[in-house]
């Protein structure tokens, strides 16, 4: 069970082994029976210790036997001196089990128990034990966990442990567990002030970055320091904020209020609404377009008469009210509540200069050691964190290189390219967007749509000529009137079922197979224009008639 290799045996050797096994099995079963007879009769004696020791040597993972052993030991407990002697013997016994299996949960757990029962625990010796087992396997997480316990018990200072981790790393750069240990110690020894996005204090961060950069220059092919570097430069996530509020009329006086948040939030995060200076809140029934408990977009039906102007007030918190003015006869209104976050805009000066330095180091490394996957990945991360829009071309070319170098993760990098294209376009869109403007991102080999919540109030969207199969994020496009999805690989239209404002839908050159798949559009009463030409469904008989039957609102239907 621990990756033993196979060796061939002769028939004779096999027969002898069989005999040996039979004998062992009989002894084992006999031992277990005896042990439990003793336990049921409440006999706690030396013999019990002897038997359980033998059984546990064969099977160190029998939790019940360890439990019984602990019962016996407690029953045999005498004065401090004899107790210490007993427990010292116990440590030796556990070690013999560990020698057989370095990773036995039961054995390590028992060692914890023994140490906790010592009147004067021999911590120093235990620290050496940890060193010994970590030398045998530096990734043995049982031992790392035990070491943490010993460090706590012996009052070893985190600073000393930090030195220990440094020593391990210097000895072997790819000691992954040692880097991990370091990541846990650093925030203890150098905690960050409350407002910073980084995991440790800035002074320590800069020093740590220097160390890591040295490590990667020493051996750029080892992944451990690169992951550590990424942890140091990555920003923590912010608290969710409201980004945008909008109103869209989809038929006559019927309309929707739309609230957009930076992250998925539950319904209770939606602020209270007041209309036209009223004193009391409107009772609105909010729903999420994706029908989940947590969503970036929350929508509610709200009828407002189109012959007059209206003001929708959102009470975001006691000190902040956002006002949205819906003009007389207007079909749409949008108000951006906070600056759109599409990455890189809110870095502190220190953070920015730190990232720039890392970037420069990586660029140098790329020149010295071209084709190094870790350098390229870090450059992608750092440039994206700085400003994906400015560095878009470079990031895209690094991702292309990665697709060739790291073929196994080819699809993952393609997906990152999609994300890059969308984020950069959305940033651009935000800068120029006005009510009624169009969002277009066609011909970009997009495999995935991200951040669709930023398009929740957009009226016209064009995502044609891409590689989309799944369009579930499009359920957020609740204000969309015109949607172009030509030249993709779409089959499932269910995410569009709730787009009440949709008037025109173009799906030419996709993979729609059946009328069933079109039936999901039947609730869209505003939909009058539909183009499904060049889809397999058109090869069926009577497609035109059948579609008009299930979607009676359609006036213009294009089949060829």
């Amino acid at each position: 069970m621990h990756g033993r290799l196979k060796i061939k045996t002769t028939a004779e050797q096999a027969a002898e082994k069989q005999k040996e096994r039979e004998g062992k099995r009989k002894l084992y079963l006999g031992g277990v029976t005896k042990a439990f007879e003793k336990r049921s009769s409440g006999t706690h004696d030396e013999e019990g210790l002897k038997i359980t020791a033998q059984l546990l040597a064969a099977n160190p993972d029998a939790a019940t036997l360890w439990n019984f052993r602990r019962e016996i030991l407690l029953a045999l407990k005498g004065d401090d001196e004899s107790w210490e002697k007993l427990l010292t013997g116990e440590l030796a016994m556990v070690e013999s089990c560990l020698m057989k299996n370095h990773k036995s949960y039961g054995a390590w757990h028992h060692r914890f128990w023994v140490m906790m029962n010592f009147p004067k625990p021999p911590w120093k010796a235990e620290l050496s034990l940890c060193d010994k087992y970590l030398k045998l396997d530096e990734r043995n997480f049982h031992c790392w966990d035990y070491r943490r316990f010993v460090v706590l018990g012996s009052n070893q200072q985190p600073e000393d442990e930090l030195k220990f981790s440094q020593h391990l790393i210097e000895h072997n750069l790819s000691n992954y567990s040692a880097w991990h240990y370091r990541s846990k110690l650093l925030p203890l020894v150098h905690p960050p002030p409350s407002n910073t996005p980084h995991p440790i204090s800035e002074g320590a961060l800069i020093k740590e970055l220097q160390t890591v950069v040295e490590a990667v220059f020493t051996d750029p092919s080892d992944q451990s320091p690169w992951f550590f570097l990424r942890w140091l430069v990555n920003r923590q996530e912010k608290v969710p904020r409201m980004l945008q509020v909008g109103y869209v009329r989809y038929k006559g006086d019927s309309g929707l209020v739309i609230c957009v948040f930076s992250q998925p939030v539950p319904q209770r995060a939606v602020p209270f609404i007041r209309l036209n200076g009223a004193d009391s809140d409107e009772t609105l029934i909010w729903y999420a377009p994706n029908d989940e408990d947590y969503s970036n977009v929350w929508v509610a039906e709200l009828n407002l008469s189109s012959v007059e102007a209206h003001t929708i007030s959102l009470i975001i918190d006691p000190s902040m009210t956002e006002m949205l003015n819906v003009g007389e006869g207007s079909t749409q209104a949008i108000e951006w509540v906070t600056t759109l976050e599409v990455g890189g805009e809110e870095l502190s000066d220190t953070a920015r200069s730190t990232l720039e330095e890392v970037k420069d180091n990586c660029v140098t490394l790329d020149e010295l050691d071209p084709g190094n996957k870790w350098v390229l990945l870090t450059l992608v991360d750092v440039m994206w964190a700085l400003d994906c829009h400015t560095h878009q071309k470079k990031i895209h070319s690094y991702l292309s290189q990665l697709q060739e170098l790291d073929v196994l993760r080819n699809k993952y990098y393609a997906d990152m390219k999609s994300k890059l294209a969308m984020e950069t376009s959305l940033k651009q869109y935000r800068i120029v967007a006005e009510v009624g403007s169009k969002f277009e991102l066609s011909g970009h080999s997009l495999t995935r749509i991200t951040l669709s919540h930023l398009l929740a109030s957009t009226a016209s969207i064009d995502l044609s000529r891409n590689d989309l199969t799944s369009i579930s994020p499009l359920s957020n496009l609740v204000a969309c009137r015109k949607l172009i999805l030509d030249d993709n690989q779409i089959q499932n239209l269910a995410p569009l079922a709730g787009l009440k404002a949709l008037e025109s839908l173009s799906l030419t050159h996709n993979k729609i197979q059946s009328l069933e798949q079109l039936k999901v559009l039947e609730g869209l009463s505003a939909l009058t224009e539909l183009n499904v030409s060049a889809n397999p469904v058109c090869d069926l008989d009577n497609t035109g008639e059948d579609i008009r039957k299930i979607l009676p609102h359609i006036k213009t239907l294009i089949l060829r």
């Binding site: 069970m1 621990h2 990756g3 033993r4 290799l5 196979k6 096994r21 062992k24 099995r25 084992y28 079963l29 277990v32 029976t33 042990a35 439990f36 007879e37 336990r39 049921s40 064969a58 099977n59 160190p60 993972d61 029998a62 939790a63 019940t64 439990n67 019984f68 602990r70 019962e71 949960y105 039961g106 757990h109 990734r139 997480f141 790392w144 966990d145 943490r148 790819s174 992954y176 567990s177 991990h180 990541s183 846990k184 992944q223 451990s224 992951f227 550590f228 942890w231 996530e237 992250q263 998925p264 539950p266 408990d293 947590y294 073929v407 196994l408 993760r409 699809k411 993952y412 997906d415």
Partner: protein, 363 residues
């Protein structure tokens, strides 16, 4: 790994291997004696995915069902004993108990083990049983008694280590019995969040390195509790997906960085990605070739590495991992409960009929 050899999937040999696991285990597997229930689960679920269950006689199935139930601890009406309930791992400990019937003969060491309870219930579902002989109240009390203040779970009342594995077992048991009231979901979720490390995935506990097995246990637990979309932020999910995708190393999947690929992670990492919608980011064909290279062409079964000895655990997780990829004529597997979709459907029908029954008793 450049397509020099194209491995075939040795379905019939694996069926034979798993059938042997059902009947007899070699001495080399003695460490599994107290966890025979898990080996049973591997064999049954493996045969199910291989579409080999139909070769098991109905009488044998019934015999197995009875054996499973014989390992259930029934405290009866003694409230003090309720928490000692659950299922045992094997008979070697129970048979030494003396006469089974009286409640007083249940001593504090003869209590259920959470992993055995999960695999017992899962095995019963796979065999088509209706769980009517399960003492639900007792099993849920057993689960409830094992949760620690920090949200994690022990495996057994007598005492053990506590970590992510047993949290997963607790979640599966509650899901199967349709009752999460036995556990404190908030502290459980908090424990999971606290166990995320700088790499972006979960370790067995707080302070421990990110690990493929623990990450699976955490993600599947969140999914079963219905908390997967709310408990993790988008960035956390992105980092998790990236960590999982980075575990593919020359075809196979490793449990942690800088470790050799190991067959069992095909399921642990594969199912995690499936639940997060990122399975397609892996190179599935290369993964499949690695798994097939660990097959034993003579005895059947799959091993941890190529040219190692096969065992029940790696055989099953290799097969259920391949089932996620949807190839080799394997039945589809549910990534959260780790049973076939057919078995899951049976479970859901049991859920439906029990809600209908409770509705009718309300009138």
């Amino acid at each position: 790994m450049s397509g020099a050899e194209d491995y075939q999937f040795l379905r019939t040999r694996h069926i034979k291997f798993l059938q042997r696991c059902l009947r007899v285990l070699p001495y080399s597997a003695v460490t599994f004696d107290t966890s025979r229930m898990t080996v049973l689960f591997f064999a049954l679920s493996g045969l199910d995915l291989l579409d080999g269950l139909k070769e098991v006689e109905k009488t044998e199935m019934q015999h197995i069902i009875n054996w499973i139930y014989s390992l259930q601890i029934l405290p009866g009406d003694d409230k003090d004993q309720l928490a000692n309930a659950g299922f045992r791992g094997g008979t070697s400990l129970a048979s030494c108990r003396g006469h089974a019937d009286s409640v007083s003969s249940i001593s504090s060491f003869d209590c259920g083990h959470i992993t055995m309870t999960y695999t017992a219930l899962a095995s019963l579902i796979i065999l088509g049983d209706d769980l009517s002989r399960v003492d639900r109240k007792a099993v849920l009390a057993h689960v409830a008694s094992l949760q620690c203040r920090d949200g994690s779970f022990f495996s057994t009342r007598g005492g053990s280590e506590n970590d992510m594995r047993f949290m997963y077992c607790a979640a599966t048991i509650c899901y199967i019995l349709q009752d999460f009231s036995a556990i404190n979901i908030n502290t459980a979720v908090q424990y999971i969040i606290n166990s995320m490390s700088y790499e972006g995935a979960m370790g067995q506990g707080i302070y421990l390195e990110s690990h493929g097995g623990s990450s699976y246990c955490a993600i599947a637990t969140l999914h079963l509790m219905g908390k997967l979309s709310s408990a993790l932020s988008n960035i956390q999910k992105q980092r998790l997906v990236r960590w999982l995708v980075s575990r593919q190393d020359s075809g196979g999947l490793q449990g942690r960085p800088n470790k050799p690929p190991d067959t069992c992670y095909t399921f642990w990492i594969g199912a995690s990605l499936k639940l997060l919608g990122g399975l397609d980011f892996l190179n599935l064909e290369a993964l499949r070739q690695f798994v097939l290279s660990t097959q034993d062409p003579i005895t059947g079964g799959l091993a941890k590495y190529p040219d190692s000895h096969p065992d029940g655990l790696h055989t099953y997780l290799g097969i259920s991992g391949l089932a996620l990829l949807g190839r080799d004529c394997l039945k589809p597997v549910d990534p959260a409960l780790n049973i076939s979709e057919r078995a899951l459907k049976h479970l859901h029908s049991l859920h439906k009929s029990s809600t209908q029954n409770s509705k009718s008793t309300k009138c």
